[in-house]
């Protein structure tokens, strides 16, 4: 209910630029939800999500021009889900850090494949998509896209929420906590691990396809390891294994660079051209962003969704009511 009010308020009050940023945040949130199902709930750490975004975007490029927007998104979802199925297989043998390395390999290989494909098909500057029509509606403004994306995010949130509250969600959590014990208590580990990869990459693929249609441009340079890392940062900052956390984290990580750039521009507006600040603005922005993410990681490694509970327990501790909870947090 609160979210609906916020969403409507943004629609009517915000400037077109703000809505553009909000749209990017919503797109990121859809992908972050998918990643959190895989990493947060099932415990499979992946830095391959930029590759999945790319697969979604390239499928959209190939299909949307011929078969329209809806089929393009559907095809992207199917293609990335299939890719997720394939990538999921190493996860049946590899655990923890080895899985991270295999998704790192995926990132480099997919980026290379798309670079080759793009340069050899003569589209060196990337692909441009035409205007998007959804039935009779023309998605020709940021506001129209905003409405569509809010609906998509609501649907994605509902699907993710239903999944984690039913049998797959419980199986995923069991696998995350201890895969051998999960198998002992009757969880089909192979099936549910692959399901997590398929659904997660499907979410990411939809986000990739929608982003391609929204920004109207697709090129391999956009799908970097840094992008993949930004998505991992989103779910950690928001909170692992948290639906709301995925959305909060996506919003923060997406909006932060814009805020930093704005702040830097207004603070340093008087700086002389060619001065240190003017020359190094991108690096100042990048280091500020990295520092803020670092602060989040170091002081809130459990994510922002846990913050209210921690504030309450800290307040209780201050009154000396609960000595036990402090000991639990002790680190070797």
């Amino acid at each position: 209910m609160v979210l609906v009010v916020v969403a409507l308020a943004v629609l009517f009050r915000a400037s077109s630029y703000d809505i553009y940023v909000a749209n990017l945040a919503i797109l990121a949130a859809v992908a972050a939800l998918g990643l959190n199902l895989l990493t947060g709930y099932t415990g499979q750490v992946s830095v391959g999500n930029a590759a999945f975004l790319a697969i979604g975007a390239y499928t959209a490029v190939a299909v949307m021009a011929r078969a329209g927007f809806i089929l393009g998104v559907a095809a992207a979802a199917l293609a990335t889900a299939a890719a997720g199925f394939v990538v999921g297989f190493p996860s049946l043998r590899l655990r923890g850090l080895y899985l991270v390395l295999s998704t790192l390999a995926l990132q480099f290989i997919v980026a290379f494949a798309f670079e080759k494909y793009q340069t050899q098909s003569g589209a060196i500057a990337g692909y441009t998509l035409g205007a998007t029509a959804l039935g009779p509606m023309h998605l020709d403004s940021d506001r129209a896209w905003y409405v569509l994306l809010v609906v998509v995010l609501a649907m994605a949130t509902y699907v993710a929420w239903s999944l984690v509250r039913s049998k797959p969600g419980r199986a995923w959590i069991a696998i995350r906590e201890h895969d051998v014990e999960a198998a002992v208590i009757g969880v089909d580990v192979t099936r549910y691990k692959l399901l997590a990869f398929v659904i997660s990459s499907g979410f990411v693929g939809v986000a990739g396809a929608l982003a391609a249609a929204y920004t109207k441009h697709v090129s391999y340079e956009a799908y970097t390891l840094d992008l993949a890392v930004a998505y991992v940062a989103m779910i950690i900052i928001g909170g692992l294994a948290s639906i709301v956390g995925s959305i909060i984290g996506a919003a923060i990580v997406t909006v932060l660079p814009f805020l930093i750039t704005n702040a830097a521009n207004s603070w340093f507006a008087g700086a002389a051209a060619g001065s240190f600040v003017q020359r190094n603005l991108p690096f100042i922005n990048a280091s500020t962003y990295a520092l803020l993410v670092l602060v989040f990681l170091m002081f809130e490694p459990r994510g922002l969704v846990g913050l209210p509970a921690r504030v309450v327990s800290a307040a209780r501790r201050a009154r000396g009511a609960s000595p036990g909870s402090a000991a639990k947090q002790g680190v070797i």
């Binding site: 190493p90 049946l92 590899l94 850090l97 790192l104 390999a105 190094n280 990048a286 280091s287 680190v331």
Partner: protein, 291 residues
């Protein structure tokens, strides 16, 4: 295939850089099971520190190297104390993210301090070709680079093999709590391994910077060294060396037969195959649980 010995000799220099960076991965991984994604960025930082120290010390090569050793060891210890040690006991994903962010910070800060223009490192080592029997062409700088890599890694290996610190590292990584009960100083062990890792990375970065001009974009070295370490085994120093040689030769062959743009992706194709066929690498200790 008359070119093979030559290609092998040419690969050895690249292999020594990979091996040095890889040895840093191995040290950190052995002592704390942390995958250090910042290793290539630390090599970049090391090369720029060499440049700065070289200017400071009036281009005296040996003194600069010595100073670089001290500074890089200090940086490693500080990185561990400030960023890693407060988060000991967190999940691997948090620790990996911390190393990635450390790398991002280095990449953002280096051009602010030293600018984006290329720098040249002063060196007394000649790059003029020395002709060896068998048609192999090498240079003073190449030979010194290879020798340095061998000496540094052999030093690490002796330390692990002949002192208790190797066992302490393994214990600290396997179970920090139990290791601390047995008198292992877990923080010191991990801190020392970080110091060694930054030291090895700095040497690799400097060796790279000495043969090319230095720009803020050489971090790819670290990501290319990942596959080398996995091929050899994440926790094995000899493995890192063998893996580095195999990978460098493989990349050279790929560049010769497929084209120069295939070098990076070859490394990752090899990585993927090794992970699927033999995840613990050629020399690593097996730690697989089947489900």
């Amino acid at each position: 295939m008359a070119a093979l010995p030559e290609a092998l000799a040419g690969s050895l220099v690249l292999a020594s850089l990979y091996a040095l960076i890889g040895a840093g991965f191995v040290m950190v991984y052995r002592s704390s099971k942390v995958l250090n994604f910042a290793q290539g960025h630390l090599a970049l930082l090391g090369a720029y520190l060499f440049y700065a120290l070289s200017v400071l010390l009036h281009r005296d090569f040996l003194w600069t190297l010595a100073a670089l050793g001290v500074v890089s060891v200090a940086i490693g210890a500080v990185l561990y104390l400030v960023f890693l040690s407060p988060l000991a006991g967190e999940g691997p994903i948090i620790l990996i993210m911390i190393t990635i962010i450390i790398g991002a910070l280095i990449v953002a800060i280096v051009p602010m301090v030293w600018g984006t223009q290329p720098h040249t490192l002063a060196s007394p080592l000649s790059q003029a070709g020395i002709h060896l029997p068998g048609g192999i062409v090498t240079s003073e700088l190449d030979l010194v680079t290879i020798a340095t890599a061998v000496v540094v890694i052999a030093g690490f290996w002796c330390l692990i093999r002949f002192t208790t610190s190797g066992i302490a590292m393994r214990a600290a990584a396997e179970n920090p709590l139990l290791a601390s009960y047995r008198g292992v100083n877990v923080a010191l062990t991990a801190g020392v391994s970080w110091a060694f890792a930054v030291f090895a990375a700095s040497v690799a970065g400097t060796a790279y910077g000495l043969r090319a001009t230095l720009t803020p974009s050489i971090t790819g070295l670290g990501f290319a060294a990942f596959p080398a370490v996995v091929v050899g085994g994440l926790d094995s120093l000899p493995g890192a060396m063998v893996g580095a040689v195999l990978l460098a030769v493989g990349q050279n062959l790929a560049a010769t037969y497929l084209g120069g743009d295939w070098t990076d992706v070859t490394a990752y194709l090899v990585l993927l195959v090794v992970l699927l066929v033999r995840p613990h690498g050629l020399f690593g200790r097996k730690e697989l649980v089947r489900v």
